[in-house]
């Protein structure tokens, strides 16, 4: 569990670097609130003998929730998000190991529905000493969304270069805090693969599917962005590396993980291009979370001695 926290550090430092004061306040609030709710619900509602605060899972949920929020979100909204994540998505199902949906994503989805305005105005990067008063702007994802809706491919020229997207260094609105720097997220992925915390199956199948599907669309019509920009914008990296790979809510067999990953990659692109929201990653993961028990039921590992098909 603590390995995942280490893997999240590069992305956290990147968000501090790009968003400054606001991101520090949001991250600290989110982690503290998640830990508090975990502890308080364990102690006063579930009355468990052993408090599960120290297992580290609440810290991860707190970090991931913060990664999904804009850096100018007021504290009281963050608290509601944390209560949803820990209180509703995790503890009502019986706590660690029993939840069906990824707690941080449930928190984000609840806030997105309840506070659509605050959750979709994104600060520009490089404002070190601002919090609520940060200047906001259109994100690369909303540029893409606009291009598809207007059917005008020239809108896409406003997108930053892939290299800038990769580093997170561009002048528009920058989306959620954890998404900003693909490089930092990939460091986390490399660490988790090296430490054998996760396997390649889920991240590679998500990113691969999204790349191929959006690549085909791009070939079919220039209003769809090139696949590299698709992978480097929005939460797709964050989701594929840290959210979809959550042990508890993802399938247990290699085959099941690939089915799950392919479906997430596909759904993300569908929602992004033809849905109401510019970003589809979190909904795609939540939908596939719901299918995970079914996948576990039907997709079995190849038994030893089973005749090869």
């Amino acid at each position: 569990m603590y390995g995942v926290i280490i893997a999240l550090m590069p992305a956290m430092l990147a968000s501090f670097f790009f968003f400054g004061l606001g991101s520090v306040i949001v991250t600290a609030t989110s982690v503290a609130a998640c830990c508090f709710f975990e502890w308080a619900i364990c102690k006063y509602i579930l009355k468990k003998k052993e408090n599960t605060l120290l297992d580290g899972s609440a810290v991860i949920t707190g970090l991931l929730l913060a990664f999904n929020l804009p850096s100018n979100l007021p504290i009281w909204i963050i608290l509601i998000g944390a209560l949803f994540a820990i209180g509703v998505a995790k503890m009502t199902f019986g706590g660690l190991g029993n939840n069906i949906f990824n707690p941080a994503l449930v928190g984000r989805a609840a806030l997105l529905v309840a506070f659509p305005a605050q959750m979709t105005t994104w600060p520009k990067i490089g404002q070190w000493d601002t919090y609520l008063d940060a200047e906001t702007g259109a994100t690369p994802l909303s540029v893409i969304n606009w291009a598809i809706r207007s059917g005008d491919a020239s809108v896409l020229e406003q997108l930053p270069s892939s290299f800038d997207l990769f580093l997170g260094n561009h002048s528009g609105g920058a989306g959620a805090m954890g998404e900003i720097c693909a490089l930092a997220l990939l460091f986390g992925l490399a660490f988790m693969l090296y430490e054998k915390i996760i396997t390649w199956h889920i991240p590679v199948s998500i990113l691969g599917t999204a790349f191929v599907f959006s690549g085909l669309l791009h070939l079919a019509s220039p209003i769809y962005p090139d696949p590299l920009s698709v992978l480097l914008t929005g939460g797709i990296m964050l989701g594929a590396i840290f959210m979809a790979t959550d042990y508890v809510t993802s399938p247990m067999t290699p085959k099941g993980q690939i089915i799950y990953g392919v479906a997430i990659g596909f759904l993300t692109i569908v929602i992004r291009n033809w849905g109401a929201y510019p970003e589809g990653m979190s909904f795609a993961i939540l939908i596939m979370n719901a299918f995970t028990p079914l996948i576990n039921n039907y997709v079995k590992p190849t038994r030893f001695g089973e005749v090869a098909k």
Binding site: G97, N98, Y247, T253, T302, F304
Partner: protein
């Protein structure tokens, strides 16, 4: 060198082979020897001696109690003290024969010389004669499972043996008895392999050894080259180095690693894919039984543990209480200790040091201090590490859960009976859940249900 291994799952426990280079010592005779009547898979043996009878080393004291069974021979000379019950390595009280030891007088039929007997000087040895001698000497699988050897050599008519595989993997941590046997009795083992191949009417043989035993690989390769690979030899034998990985010594894993064939689910056995697997200790016991007329009454056993003063390897007479061996190694260490018959992965924890060494006791392992304690189980976070390491392609988390909630029907559908109880899942579980404990219970219940269904 092309290094093979099995195809699914597996783990790398710390090997802790403390006694690799400790030469085998002959253990002292016990004052009293205890012989459980059930030292093998199958029906318990039936006593043929009575209280007060005089016996010699090698005297038959209990005959086979059925087809799947094996006779038991005295390992000491003296008189039968009583036929009673005592706690054996299963942890239960079982019928035993207890012999009080006087002197060390052997049956005259046993050839006690060190001279290497070869097949060439014994033209009387037909396959049938070899199988009969193995059966009459009470030889069983020496790797721990204790299945009567002669049955494996006479496969059902539906299967045809193609090769004999010698299991010299010894993948279990701590244990070095097979390694010492290979280093000290290589020629005898190869004659044993030759006898096994003759009995099974095959000409192909393999010896599977993990690469953490380079000296044994080198020695056996040299001896095999000298013995079998001349032009006049009808046999084709090769030493197969295997990548170190647990549970490679599992019969099915070994067949997969050596000849790349997977044994189907139970009731299929290795000979269904053409392989007869015998432990290296069994090959030695076969040599002694056939060539030296020496029934199975002593074996190589490792006595080991990190806190033990002088861990070692012993040639020990069966029926010797474990306490005698532990004392010979400097006595039970201070503090909390866990006593295991076998190694830390598959061994069985015992409640008494008076339990005797039996045909299948390849080691006495003492785990001390914190390592002997179980960690508090945490909730399952479905990390699926157990699924990744299961060498049988099962889902241990699911089987353990189904056993816990007693859903036997579903457990059977999920192939719980395929489990080989290697413990890789429990070893790897980051939440320290007692996966194997639950699965074992479920497996034995489901097997009982299957048996009662087919009996109707």
């Amino acid at each position: 060198m092309n290094i093979k291994t099995f195809s699914i799952g597996g783990i790398h426990p710390d090997e802790n082979k403390l006694t690799h280079e400790v030469a085998t010592k002959v253990a002292a005779l016990p004052k009293q020897a205890i012989f459980p009547l059930s030292q093998h898979i199958g029906a318990p043996a039936k006593p043929v001696v009575q209280k007060g009878d005089r016996v010699k080393v090698g005297t038959l004291i209990a005959e086979a109690g059925g087809f799947v069974s094996a006779p038991i021979f005295s390992s000491v000379s003296g008189s039968v003290l009583k036929i009673d019950t005592a706690i054996d390595a299963t942890g239960y009280r079982k019928p035993v024969i207890i012999i009080s030891v006087e002197g060390d007088e052997w049956e005259e039929t046993i050839d006690r010389s060190d001279k290497l007997e070869t097949v060439e000087s014994h033209p009387e040895l037909t396959p049938e004669e070899i199988v009969t001698r193995i059966k009459d000497a009470g030889v069983v699988g020496m790797g721990g499972a204790c299945f009567p050897t002669f049955i494996k050599l006479t496969p059902p008519p539906t299967a045809k043996a193609e090769c004999v595989i010698i299991n010299a993997v010894e993948c279990e941590p701590y244990i070095t008895a097979d390694y010492r046997l290979m280093m000290e009795k290589a020629d005898e083992i190869l004659v044993g392999l030759e006898l096994l191949m003759m009995a099974a009417k095959v000409t192909t043989g393999y010896i599977g050894i993990e690469t953490n035993k380079p000296a044994a690989i080198e020695l056996l390769m040299k001896k095999v080259e000298e013995k079998f690979n001349s032009q006049s030899s009808v046999f084709n034998v090769s030493v197969v180095p295997l990548k170190q990985r647990y549970p490679q010594g599992g019969e099915k894993q070994l067949v997969d690693a050596v000849i790349q064939r997977q044994v189907p689910a139970p009731p299929a056995i290795p000979v269904n894919v053409g392989a007869i697997v015998q432990n290296v200790g069994t090959a030695y016991a076969v040599y002694e039984a056939v060539m030296k007329h020496k029934p199975l009454f002593e074996r190589y056993t490792t006595v080991t543990g990190k806190n033990l003063q002088n861990p070692g390897n012993f040639l020990v007479r069966m029926g010797t209480p474990m306490k005698d061996l532990i004392d010979a190694c400097g006595g039970m260490p201070e503090g909390d200790n866990k006593l295991l018959a076998g190694g830390p992965m598959m061994g069985k924890a015992l409640t008494s040091v008076e339990v005797p060494i039996c045909k299948g006791t390849n080691s006495v392992t003492i785990i001390s201090g914190d390592e002997a304690r179980r960690k508090e189980p945490q909730p399952c976070i479905r990390c699926a590490k157990c699924v990744w390491v299961c060498p049988m392609g099962l889902e241990p988390y699911l089987l353990a859960k189904l056993s816990e909630v007693k859903n036997w029907e579903r457990a059977e559908r999920e192939d719980i009976v395929n489990c080989i109880e290697c413990g890789s899942c429990q070893f790897t579980c980051p939440a320290h859940r007692p996966l194997l404990d639950n699965i074992r219970q479920g497996k034995s219940t489901v097997m009982g249900i299957i048996r009662s269904r087919t009996a109707k």
